[in-house]
Amino acid sequence: MIKNMEFTGKIQESIPAMAVKVAVSRLIGAASGRAGHSGTSLPGKVVLTADKRIIGRISRKYREGTVIVSATNGKTTTSAMIASILKKKGLKVSRNREGANLKAGVASAVLADVSMTGRPGSEIGLFEVDEAALPGVAWQCSPRIMLLMNLFRDQLDRYGELEHIAGLWRAALRSLPEETITVLNADDPMVAGMASVRPERTIFYGIEDAGAGGGKMQHASDSKYCSECGAALRYEAVFVGHLGMYHCGSCGNARPSPTVQARDVRLGGMAGSRFTLVAPEGRMEMEIKLPGLYNVYNALAAAAACMALGMDLRTVSEGLADFSAAFGRVEKLSIEGKAVMLLLVKNPVGFNEVVRTLMIEPGRKTLLLPLNDRTADGRDISWIWDVDMEVLAPAVAAAVTSGTRAWEMAMRLKYAGVGPERIEAVTDLRSALERALELTGTGETLYVLPTYTAMLALRQEIHRHFSTDRELGDLVWK
């Protein structure tokens, strides 16, 4: 990510024609790439200073329109799933890259395959947009589909409060043209409540299986109040965090009945999950090779968005099948002959889901937990105390903590009930991985749960210093 890099608009102001601006931006993109920076957001930033409506100007030319995806959790995975389905249909997709989900990142994406005359090479735009950046991007794009998935507490030090974000989303929805179809998660009270802003052309999706969740409200739950009257909501079923089947006992506000449903959900641990997709078009058995109920949600959201685009069940199912774990948030590989599983953790809800999934796997586990507190991770690491680490504690055979806040994570484990003799804090990532591999017995799996920047750093370390069964390279993070 490029931060605080100053580019004034001065140079561009003297260049009037848009085609020239595009050319300039592409040159800058190439140059910054050569200089070893990731060029993802930079060209967009440069052009935005010159033409604030560049996203709208180009994205409106996509033949199949634009899909916008926003959420606290799962927007990258869901976008990747949608892309896989779109590819099944043979569509050329313009997509922004993970981490480049602010306005500049989207601008870079629309510029990436644009011709000198300002014509896009892609047929459809697919942009995952940061929660807070949504209003700034949405009004320009006039998207065909706006997929809003969930709002969780995430990096509060960046944005302030959930209510604030919800307000931004409502503003974004008000700015959309009449034709836009909004696809909303029925199971998130705050998100489902947004339908009141524009009730027409709304599609709800949700899990229609009361037994799918753990049943118990997790500690990291956020939105437990009625979006209409503020009374506490009653839950008949809790799936992930505050997502579930709910109703308000006070004003009668209730979870809308989802049009696109996941029924008969069967979680199979790390191997993935199966569920029955039920929609007005019919029903179909789905299999996703990503663990946890949260990935069922991601697949369901992707399916709902694609069906709103007019795709049939078969294309959706085949697209999801193509989407392999290699692209997602879980990676399996072998390092120094030991089986290793990488699972990104970035906030309490996501972490809780990882915990839940790990607990489905039999036996005691060896863990590596690198916790960083850089800007992209969230400077405030207090969220680890909201993770239900107590659930995991009895299953911990050994835990190595690492990263800038290795000791804090070690302490969290101790207070969760992991015996201190089973915890080692090794701040240096490379040494931490070496130690964790050492502690992993033959035939066992090492589970690595890093935060965002720790994941990036760890991949570099693995790439440079460890022998693996395959190239990690740019598989996920590019």
Partner: protein
């Protein structure tokens, strides 16, 4: 006689932002490791604790909506809470909880939310949030002690003349980003912006509060068995090095 720490957690369902649950976890564990029993009861809107049944009151922060809900209800609880504090019970209030226990909170739009007035302090909403790692030095335990935490607040809190802050800011913003004070101490009641959470890694401070709470119940001279805090101390040292 079984020794027990009796905790009343106020509005655990509404004021639970920034993972302040960690503070409760720390209290529970540190008692458990010493064979001290813990009574932990939560009280939300419309529920009034039997104030003298508890020795440790805990109140943290929430989002705006929740704090507004709590504000009115807390007025009803103010007298009982004050009585408990006057009798020497421990009160730890963090962030929004700290603000609500002051005299008033003035929002950015000029609207004023009346507080409980337990602390002689008031809070005025600021334009920017004070966010980051904090280090303060306090003498509340009897000798100078550095506490490490994280702060995230838009409110600027000003103590009335003669009121004692919890500590002096070494790194970070503190009460108002100007006078160098952080938090407030009145008898055994503490208000602070430090979350992170505060108690797990600042063990000398935690045990001090624990001792005060037990003495409120069992009389002076409570001694706590020492614990192996090497991991906590390493975490505190690491956090102290982070600075603001």
């Amino acid at each position: 006689m079984e020794v027990k720490l009796r905790i009343a957690h106020l509005y655990p369902d509404l004021l639970n932002i920034y993972a302040d649950r960690g503070n409760i976890i720390a209290l529970r564990r540190r008692c458990q490791w010493r064979g001290i029993g813990v009574v932990l009861d939560g009280f939300t809107l419309g529920e009034e604790p039997a104030w003298m049944d508890y020795d440790f009151f805990y109140l943290s922060g929430g989002q705006d909506r929740e704090q507004n809900l709590v504000c009115g209800d807390l007025q009803q609880k103010g007298a009982g809470l004050e009585e408990a504090v006057e009798s020497g019970a421990v009160l730890l209030s963090i962030c929004g909880g700290y603000q609500l226990l002051g005299e008033y909170y003035r929002a950015a739009d000029g609207g004023t939310m009346e507080g409980v007035g337990l602390f002689q302090a008031h809070t005025i909403a600021g334009r920017d949030r004070c966010i980051g790692n904090v280090v303060i030095e306090t003498t509340v335990t009897g000798s100078p002690l550095k506490l490490a935490g994280f702060e995230n607040h838009a409110g600027r809190t000003w103590l009335d003349e003669g009121q004692e802050p919890l500590g002096r800011v070494i790194n970070g913003h503190g009460n108002n980003d100007q006078d160098g004070g952080e938090g407030i101490v009145y008898r055994n009641a503490i208000g602070t912006y430090l979350h992170g959470p505060l108690l797990p890694k600042n063990t000398a401070f935690t045990d001090h509060l624990l001792r005060l709470a037990l003495e409120h119940r069992y009389g002076e001279g409570v001694e706590l068995a020492p614990l192996d805090d090497s991991l906590e101390e390493a975490a505190r040292q690491a956090a102290l090095r982070l600075g603001g």
